[in-house]
Symmetry: C2
Subunit: 359 residues, 2 copies
Amino acid sequence: MTAVSPAHDQPSIEPLATTELFAYLAECREMVLGEIRALMPTASRYRPILYDLMLEYPLRSAKALRPALCIAVCRALGGSLEGVLPSTAALELYHNAFLIHDDVEDGSLRRRDRPTLHRLHGVPIAVNVGDAMLALALEPLLANLRVLGLGKALRILQVVSRMARASAEGQAMELSWMRAGQWDLADPDYLRMVYKKTSWYTFVAPMLIGSIVAGAGDETLAVVRKLAACLGIAFQIRDDVLNLVSDPARYGKDLEGDLREGKRTLIVLHAMRTAGASDRRRAARILERRSPGRAHSASVRWLRRLIDDAGSIRHAERVAEAWATRARRHLEALATHTTPSVHLRTLVRLADFAVCREH
Amino acid sequence: MTAVSPAHDQPSIEPLATTELFAYLAECREMVLGEIRALMPTASRYRPILYDLMLEYPLRSAKALRPALCIAVCRALGGSLEGVLPSTAALELYHNAFLIHDDVEDGSLRRRDRPTLHRLHGVPIAVNVGDAMLALALEPLLANLRVLGLGKALRILQVVSRMARASAEGQAMELSWMRAGQWDLADPDYLRMVYKKTSWYTFVAPMLIGSIVAGAGDETLAVVRKLAACLGIAFQIRDDVLNLVSDPARYGKDLEGDLREGKRTLIVLHAMRTAGASDRRRAARILERRSPGRAHSASVRWLRRLIDDAGSIRHAERVAEAWATRARRHLEALATHTTPSVHLRTLVRLADFAVCREH
């Protein structure tokens, strides 16, 4: 089911067709890669071990969702492409730096269908490449002062600063639960963590920055912010679901990796709440084992059955749908601040995609 | 021997006495800690696993050399304390974030007389705390726009961006040598790495930022930059020497850790160049073993004898002295841009300390 499809509530904006969306995403991706390449020294002795590795994740089969969201919002609100491009490079650098560090922190094995960076090059090089990307990301944000003027450039820097901090706080919440072996968590705990960890840097910051570049007023910014928060939550829940139900041949990451890494997903938390005391203890023991590298074990199969029997995936899907409904309402409100355009239609389709994507 | 002591060349500026220097450093440290604490939320659910851990390294027996350099330069050039304090908080956050990530990258065991952060709390939490400190560091730099105005704030942001990138490039050089098992390195390779890895964030950035806050002109900035580069190199060589010759009871880090971590120091590179082919191969095998956690082994003792027999520590001290002499010349030039003050005397004493410190 789709979040914004005509079948449900006859929205006023027709979403972009899938082939058009892919073309739009591909075009944004090429532009942001060009922008990132332009930030790098052309001839540098650090290329093989630093600058080339910065492009390793972005060049894998990534959708470049964040730059596309940033560009689509900006242009839907009447902003210029040239004005927004430097910021998309910063967002993509931040995103991929976080991915590299997250993969180290989670001990993840695969990212976008290939081994994670720390498995290819070791933890030291991976941590350093991430740090260098965070450093490089400052440059386009400073260039914004020339391109956009002080007011907009400063507000964008403030959004990025808030984003980086929110992400670290969300990550800290999750890590503290893992360290304490804490499983008695309610859905609002998860939602708060995901708002910090996913919504802020995948939706809130890209969409706010696009709006700021376009010169949006406070009222529009407030709508964009609510829309982005809802989309981020729906997106992360869908991400959790896909980790369990994807076709292994098409899924680029570790299928059921969340179970082996002991992640507190809405799905697992529901299954834990629903299970009897002895099943709950057994599930916690399995989840605490945290063995990302191990083969698919009988324990994980048992856990998966527990989840299926409890209807936990369905529960997560229902929660995601509620957030998608809220997102749809905010999107309709945003549409009243714009004139119809391919960018607005892209935004509607991206919102749909965030909630309903198959991979 | 001291870099700027009256015994050697009767400098025009009398360095601060040791007790006065310690008082100056302690005062700067208290002020910068207060500034960092003010950036943190007072009541936060993330405190125990995020914000408290940010203060873990700064609260250990650190000298807060970077803030003191920044403040002393700024005030020696007539700048205000209030104007420079936010930037010192950013520098101290960057410095300690780099320390945390470096300790992870190097697998170091001890930092400032206690176990490293990743040993106390695990790699995931340590990497995340470092990222959060890099995020938090942006806030005082943005606050500079209000405090110092656009021109100075922007130039400071540019220095920080350049600093973060130089550090990552220096780290990448060292990591690439380690990965490739490369030992045929000349002193200029080492000096270039250290200029990137140490000079930039320990001396160049703090001293340039202090000068910018004070409103220094291009000529002064050029002198400060040369002075800082020379001091950074002399400082790092002294650091390498101390890693071998310190009193274990007073040295806060792993004594001879550079040998066990396979670091390319000026000392080791000299010993390798001086040794015969078979000793060189044996030394490389020992250094490649990289076993930071192992007890003091017979191999490391053999390596240490090789270094002593080659006079490599003396070679490093001679190189450091040459850079200290250059620093002294630039410091005398800088003095002509200022009027005498306790801050200038502090700077002279700090320059001396960088080169001659015993711990």
